[in-house]
């Protein structure tokens, strides 16, 4: 479940300590953009110790490493992979980077006696090439569980203006959502950068959800509630799904192959959608069972 993934600067002990209790499904401890060059070593050390000693309250623990090309990425992987985070977020991911990182992590997993493949990868797609190559990037490692769209860098790479409305990233969102659905990994939407505009955030998240993104990154803890709400099934959705499943059970008892609800035929895709809603609602704790 990755409705919300919260970026936390890897050099801020107080924010790291409190981050698991803010409602996000995943915490991304950031060693890259949030950390200045002269703090890379100390942030790496801080993140490592935080992962070793803090209770993450069931949140997924993700570390955004520096890119391989920056020179810091290797040290990040070596220090952090040995304490088994849930996943690494890989900036400006390419197929080559992912293959190299996969191999490095496999070596560490063997050395440390971890189960092979236990550390997952999340490529950050933030170049035009990355958008076009996203299918191959995901296929390049079995560790990949999600893809995160980084729209700020992407629009800079394309030389286009980034807007609140987000029309300029419609294609990138659509492509990533479609490829992720095809390859059964999560598609995580880019952060909304105006941290005081909650209506704008809601609209942006709803737009992403409509296209098929399954969650959204947050750059401020106050964004989490809105994101979680948008990417959780609504009570109306849950009630509808319960009714579909009840009607299905009844039809099955009566030996009917097809059945209707509210005058509309319910077929396999609709039943699947209803089952997915119930499963998601259970995972979030919206319904018991």
């Amino acid at each position: 479940m990755r409705r919300s993934m919260l970026f936390i600067p890897g050099n801020n002990p107080s924010m790291i300590q409190n981050s698991p209790f803010l409602g996000a499904d995943s915490i991304i401890l950031d060693l890259e953009d949030a950390v200045s060059l002269d703090e890379k070593d100390s942030a790496r050390c801080l993140v490592r110790n935080a992962l070793l000693s803090l209770d993450f309250n069931g949140c997924e623990k993700v570390v955004r490493i520096n890119s391989i090309s920056s020179g810091f990425g290797y040290d990040d992987i070596d220090a952090i992979a040995r304490i088994k985070p849930d996943a690494f977020l890989i900036p400006k991911a390419t197929e080559d980077d992912i293959e190299e990182i996969d191999s490095l992590i496999s070596t560490i997993e063997r050395e440390e006696g971890f189960k092979l493949g236990c550390i997952k990868l999340i490529p950050l797609i933030e170049t035009a090439f990355g958008v076009e190559d996203v299918f191959n990037i995901i296929k390049s490692s079995k560790r990949i569980v999600a893809v995160l769209l980084g729209a700020e860098d992407l629009t800079a790479d394309m030389g286009i203006k980034r807007t609140k409305e987000g029309e300029e990233i419609f294609y990138a969102r659509s492509r990533i959502a479609s490829v992720c659905a095809a390859l059964k990994v999560d598609a995580i939407d880019t952060p909304f950068t105006d941290v005081n505009d909650f209506e704008g955030l809601r609209k942006d998240a709803e737009k992403a959800k409509l296209i098929g993104m399954s969650g959204k990154a947050a750059i401020n803890p106050r964004q989490i509630d809105v994101i979680n709400e948008v990417f959780s099934p609504s009570f109306d959705d849950i009630n509808w799904a319960k009714r579909v499943i009840e009607a299905y059970e009844k039809a099955k008892m009566e030996g009917k192959g097809v059945f209707a609800l509210d005058g509309k035929m319910v077929d396999a895709p609709i039943l699947l959608r209803a089952k997915n809603i119930i499963e998601k609602a259970k995972a979030i704790g919206l319904i018991k069972g």
Partner: protein, 512 residues
Amino acid sequence: MINAVKREIPEFIEGYGKVKPFMGAYANIGDVVKTSVKIKSVKPNDKKVLPSIKDALLKCGIKDGMTISFHHHLRNGDYVLNMVLDEIAKLGIKNLTVAASSIFPCHAPLVEHIKNGVVTKIYANYMSGPVAEAVSKGLLKYPAIMHTHGGRARAIESGDLHIDIAFIAAPTCDTYGNINGVEGKSACGSLGYAIPDAMYAEKVVAITDNLVDYPACPIEISQEYVDYVVVVDEIGDPKGIVSGTTRITRDPIGLRIAKLAAQLIDEVGLLKDGFSFQTGAGGTSLAVAAFVKDIMKKKNIKGSFAAGGITGYIVDMFEEGLFKALFDVQCFDLKAVESYKNNKAHQGMSASMYGNPHNKGAVVNNLDVMILGATEVDIDFNVNVTTGSNGIIIGGSGGHSDTAAGAKLAIVVTQLTKARLPIIVDRVTTVTTPGETIDAVVTERGIAINPRRQDLLEKLKDSNLPIFTIEELKNMAEKLTGVPEKIEFEDRIVAVVEYRDGTVIDVVRQVR
């Protein structure tokens, strides 16, 4: 002897007298006797306006050993207490007792009067700043007596606290002593804390910077109680009297705590039509109000009243129709002052009506939910809001103990750790409010329900809220911070913490 919150307290305290130990929050309710007050009646042509504070002091017969009182509606902008004490010092008067409903950093000059023996005893419901530090370090000759807001009213009405002269800072006053707080450059709104002083002091002096023609309507404190009126240039600094606006916290941890508190209120079934509520003016407390407001609007709930010190945020809820009325003992910001002036259902209340346990029913008794703060909470749910992590006095009950005792659900909202210290501890440094009156502690990492409230635990048994025992929360905090070393104190008692019924719940000893 050991009192009901397991505190070792002496049977007799020098400068305080015989100690009545705290026996339980509701152990001392029943038949009470109110005191009578000796006054001098006036003739039809008597004038009340005097040229100076010195004249008023002389007319009132100021002398060594008297008790003089002040209210704190001008908060950290108050000039009156300092002005009066400076005049008294000039007259060579010594050994006074100052009964101020609260003492703030602006009252720093009082420290000199403590040092030179002008003031030897203090009563206050709350004190912070240099005076509180001076008391903690043992500079005051006799122990300070810390009341609750309701307890101070009780003490005055019962005669436990006899006031010789009450000085009432009056934002507006007429020539015959009628006072209100809603007009004038120093307008502060409700004057609720000053009312018991006015009614029970032998002499009452109104000090105003806005003398108006008779009558000064609306009248909050009436001419029947006021002996003299003195006009000064300024009774206070408007910047310190009321803040421009009170704001909801933007801190994500504060917001998380507030959201959990609002969910708790909802899940135990208290958020329904007729709901009554009180919260403080702090950022997190106000955020609870914001989340409660969202739920009330979503569920179309019409509340009964909100009470306490009133903020603009609570006024907004009232104006949106979420509450039928407001009970206001003190306005916290300009919006609250305006509303108090203009809305009939924005009702003023005296400190006694607010929280006195020994009257025929205080407003706190009708509260459904109270949101409280804490500097420490212990595993018996006792709360300290009196002393800080270094043992120095940093506050006091104010309305904390009164509202906790009255409300159906008293919730402490606090971060689990602050400044690398655990807030939930084995034993609080000072007990301000007894654990038996605290129902829940809400932190960012979880909620602890007082085991005395099995009814609440039953209602929450299927809840998704993160419910833990208080010991589990304490362990979580200690895992992050370790266990701090105990603060060391001298034997000397520098303050006596009275519960609202006048019994002694704890003492504060001199810091080392």
